[in-house]
Amino acid sequence: MYSIFVIALNTFKEAIRNRILYVILLFAILIIISGGIMGDLSVSAPEDLIRSIGLFGINFFSIMIAVFIGIGLVYNEIDKKTIYTIVSKPIDRTHFILGKYFGLLLTIYANVIIMTLFFLMAIHYYSVVDQQTMNDYFMHLASQKGSYTQADIYMYYVKALLGAIPKGAGSFFGHDPTEATKNIMTVISMNCFELAIIVAFAILFSSFSTPILSAFMTIMTFLVGRGNEDIIRYVWKLQDKIQASGGADMTLHFKAALAQVIALIAPNLSIFYKVSDAIYEDKAPIYGSEILYGVIYPAAVLTLACLIFSRRNFK
């Protein structure tokens, strides 16, 4: 087990020394904090838009990190032949795969934490700098001082920014949860299970194919996974059609069987995407069966990756 930890830590070190990670993270933070700017465009509920964009940003960019860092992790070890000296050490090949997996997951979760912190800070910041709050504040200021200057406005923004940092961090650790932030941690935690599945697929594909092919297959798996419930609805529709036609059309049977197999094999990722809960629910529920699925499914994918990897001859 110690070797898994050692490899995971080295993988984490490898990932955080990779410049691609910082480019993705920078873009992610820009998108997440830009929610407020776009929120201004919303007519009805700008805070909903801020939360939607922030949660989407965290989800999308963490998947980007999983795909673009994950796909090369195992392949590069084989391509650059660093695997030669690793497998000659007293460790199991399985430990290598698991170490790579947990190392990448650790990297992604660290990034999710950073993005979430920025997101929570952005929520607090925008809740203070919204039009209504500012109007109230400056009306009050004007009634007290008689007038206010441009410098007072700048000062207000600076104070809002400085105040958002401890408030954002506090919300992250569960202190003083506000209406806006209380469901966010639950929803992001659910996303983490989805990431555990995506990373497992990235490692699986990387263990036997090239990075480009791995990226393609991982993204396809993600897309099919997100559309899994639609595929199931499609199967139901086809079954209705088969019943209506009396079961004579073999093409329909074939289509239904194929779609059913795809829906069965592909992960159901839509169950982890709960953005609407963060916005519309008073209290987002904890999803027990989804959590179980989010643990068992990557375990199965990793078992397959380990099986493939432990039988491979490295070129």
């Binding site: 110690y2 080295n10 070190k13 032949k81 050490k89 460790i91 039988r311 490295f314």
Partner: protein, 329 residues
């Protein structure tokens, strides 16, 4: 004493699948090409010896080492290291391995790299630290210990590779082309290091193209060619069977004597009054020495020249009628 490495009928066949399209006809078939990289290799390596696995490119040397290190799986046959089958983890903890043209994690510094590998061996932090510093010094890369490996030259990477192979103070060291990429000084240092390892009681199993170096340090060698064992034995057993030629250098002999022996010599070179004659037979050399002494000439040197490992190697791997090709190895 039981051998520390036992290889029995080890074979490796690579199967390459490809799609074959026949020209001019719409016919696509899935074909496979089988290449026997290693065929029934059987050999033993004794404890404490330096064993050289020699052969031209594609002979199966690296394949053998890859199988022993668990990088490839054998198609047939068995191998044991220290009496245990391949993959036995406690045995792996007692071996060191340097691959050919090593490439390591370029984002790690030399020191971080050795610490990482030390962790993989399960070494304690204090021991890891001690061994890391010792080996950085021994391999001559201590000055670059905190430089990321991407800044290392090929020779420095080879040294870093050697350092990681010795990190666990192994009982057996497998070195695949340890001298490739090194300058003459680096090659000598590797040679000295291998001899030092033997003096410490370690077994060294290495493959090499550099026959002159192998000849200097190996206790025993095996020559593999086209995946098959061509010959194996102690160097003195393989090479001492015959003296290849005699080189006689004399001075102050008459021109008649020179003419007489010119015809018997395979080569002769004159430099001033000195003459070098090379004879295949001992008798002609002795006759020249006697004649020289009788004429009151000076015998400068008489050197019987044994067959070199390189000549033996070329004889072993050269296909008949392909002398030129063999010389290029």
């Amino acid at each position: 004493m039981a051998p520390v490495i036992e290889i029995r009928n080890l074979s490796k066949i690579y199967v390459q699948n490809f799609i074959d399209v026949e020209h001019g006809r719409l016919k696509i078939r899935l074909k496979n090409r089988r290449t026997a990289a290693l065929q029934d290799l059987t050999l033993d390596v004794e404890e404490g010896e330096i064993f050289g696995l020699l052969g031209p490119n594609g002979a199966g040397k690296t394949t053998t080492i890859k199988i022993l290190m668990g990088i490839h799986f054998a198609t047939r046959g068995t191998a044991k290291i220290m009496g245990h089958p391949l993959g036995h983890k406690p045995t792996k903890a007692k071996i060191g391995f340097l691959p050919e043209n090593p490439y390591f994690y370029d984002y790690l510094t030399g020191r971080e790299f050795l610490h990482y590998y030390g962790q993989l061996y399960g070494m304690e932090r204090s021991l890891r630290r001690k061994r890391t510093e010792e080996l950085l010094e021994l391999t001559g890369i201590a000055y670059a210990a905190d430089v990321p490996l991407k800044g290392y030259s090929k020779g420095m990477l080879q040294r870093a590779g050697l350092a990681q192979a010795l990190l666990n103070d192994p009982k057996i060291v497998f070195l695949d082309e340890p001298q490739s990429g090194l300058d003459p000084l680096g090659r000598k240092e590797v040679r000295d290091l291998i001899l030092l390892l033997r003096d410490q009681g370690k077994t060294v199993f290495f493959s090499s193209h550099i026959l002159s170096d192998a000849e200097l340090i190996c206790d025993r060698v095996a020559i593999v060619h086209k995946g098959k064992l061509s010959s194996i034995g102690r160097l003195n057993e393989l090479l001492s069977a015959r003296i290849k030629e005699y080189e006689v250098t004399v001075a102050g002999i008459s021109s008649e004597t020179v003419e007489q022996f010119e015809s018997q010599a395979t080569r002769n070179v004159a430099a001033g009054e000195e003459h070098l004659f090379v004879f295949e037979g001992e008798q002609a050399a002795q006759a020249l020495v006697r004649k020289c002494l009788a004429e009151n000439g000076r015998l400068i040197s008489l050197a019987p020249r044994k067959e070199t490992l390189e000549e033996f190697f070329v004889d072993q791997v050269r296909p008949s009628g392909e002398e030129t090709k063999a010389k290029n190895i």
